[in-house]
């Protein structure tokens, strides 16, 4: 192209560059960037899911190793030559994420018995934690406008550590509009590494579950009689269908330091919400001595 043509082309170029760009353009690009960041987090979440088989977020996760070895168990171990398995509980990972209206901190414990950390129990625990995380993510996904508020905190503690069983209590608090508390207890048979279900404990005694249920009902009644502020879902006139009927055998339980069975019920399951998570200790007169060896 000759001189004249080139000039005109230059002109054209200048004119192109003076095409007006509306003010909103910058805002729009910033909005796109923000949306992209949200999308990216979700994508990393999904990748992590595939890689580890666990649902998690791209957010920071801290791995703290916490060996829990109760001195009682160690002592018991010394005097019982046969069982030498020592169970350790480690915080496998902590799922943590916080945003403007959302926050999650979920500690996921992992149990290692002897040298094995690959137990079925850990899978159950992981499944449970995943469910918490999935619920959380679901909330976040459904509410991209950022209007909602959802926070979940989950910690665990060891509530039983005797020669036969290790019980982990995972306490979760979910705050949406109001708060909800859940306590899920995994009682692990150290010999097998499996989560022991309540009904398995009493496999040879089919009437035990109803005996314990009756005992719980007795406790409920006497507590209500002694304290008018206490309420349980029993003997209701209005909603008898929602009353506590009996145990299913899947309830959360653990053993206290005296070896007594303790049952744990989430909010709303056997009592009105304000009662919170309720526990009942079952006397040995009902259960007998629960075998430890």
């Amino acid at each position: 192209m000759d001189q004249n043509g080139n000039e005109k082309l230059e002109q054209l170029k200048d004119q192109y560059h003076t095409i007006p760009v509306p003010d909103f353009a910058k805002d729009r690009i910033m909005a796109g960037i923000e949306q992209g960041k949200k999308g990216r987090r979700k994508r990393s979440m999904m990748k992590f899911t595939k890689k580890t088989g666990l649902t998690a977020a791209a957010a920071l996760f801290a791995i703290t190793v916490m060996a829990n070895l109760s001195p009682m168990t160690a002592k018991a171990m010394e005097s019982i030559p046969v069982i030498g398995t020592i169970a350790k509980v480690v915080t496998f990972r902590t799922f943590e994420e916080s945003g403007d209206n959302y926050e999650a901190k979920i500690q996921v414990p992992q149990v290692s018995i002897g040298d094995h950390s690959d137990s079925e129990a850990n899978q159950s625990i992981a499944d449970y934690a995943n469910q918490l995380i999935a619920d959380y993510e679901n909330q976040v996904k459904q509410d991209l406008e950022g209007q909602g508020h959802y926070s979940v905190t989950s910690t665990y503690d060891v509530v039983t550590d005797n020669p036969k069983y290790l019980s982990l209590r995972i306490k979760t608090t979910v705050i949406m509009a109001s708060g909800s508390n859940y306590a899920k207890i995994f009682t692990i048979d150290k010999a097998t590494g499996k989560v022991a279900a309540l009904k398995e404990l009493f496999a040879g005694k089919p009437d035990m579950l109803s005996a314990i249920s009756d005992n719980i009902k007795e406790q409920m009644r006497s507590q209500m009689a002694a304290d008018e502020n206490k309420q349980y879902s029993i003997d209701s006139r209005d909603d008898p269908e929602d009353d506590f009927k009996g145990l299913t055998g899947e309830e959360s339980f653990y053993f206290d330091k005296d070896g007594r069975l303790v049952l744990s019920f989430d909010e709303y399951t056997v009592a009105p919400g304000y009662m919170g998570v309720v526990e009942f200790t079952i006397p040995k007169s009902v259960t007998g001595d629960i075998p430890f060896q």
Partner: protein
């Protein structure tokens, strides 16, 4: 490393948004759509940063995203209404001095892209080849053809 790429992508987007807007505009010829394309492109860029291996490639890739988004936009819209975008406007005897886009309309989409990237944005042929995912010779050929057409427009008295 990932954060660095994200920060760099953000920086490029915010510095050059006018360029992307004009580029988008050249496809859709109206402001609203151009804004939509710009936003959509920024979203895609940030969301898909995992695809980018080298930060040096970022700028090229971003151009590509903008162009692809604009083209997709047109394709979708083309299904709904009969627009002038796909149709070649018959050559005018002389172009409207106030509207540079009008002259560009006389080129087909592929030629126009190249003119904008090479003449207006002054990118290297190699980079343009990468952006458009074309062989560099194809780029040259199209550019040549486009300039020839423009020449006809710019210098009507000579034809």
């Amino acid at each position: 490393m990932k954060q660095k790429i994200e920060a760099e992508a953000e920086r490029i987007l915010l510095t050059n948004y006018e360029t992307y807007y004009r580029l988008a505009f050249s496809y859709v010829n109206n402001g609203q759509d151009a804004l939509d394309i710009v936003q959509e492109s920024a979203y895609k860029v940030i969301k898909d940063l995992g695809k980018v291996r080298e930060p040096d490639f970022l700028s090229t890739w971003i151009y590509r995203v903008v162009i692809n988004t604009a083209v997709d936009f047109l394709r979708k819209r083309g299904k709904e209404s009969v627009g002038l975008e796909g149709v070649e406007i018959p050559h005018l005897d002389h172009y409207n001095e106030d509207d540079p886009m009008e002259l560009l309309r006389s080129l087909d989409e592929k030629e126009r892209e190249i003119v904008i990237l090479k003449i207006f944005e002054e990118l290297k042929l190699e980079e343009i080849a990468q952006i458009l995912e074309l062989n560099i010779n194809t780029v040259k050929a199209r550019l040549y053809r486009a300039l020839k057409k423009l020449r006809t427009e710019l210098e009507p008295e000579l034809t």
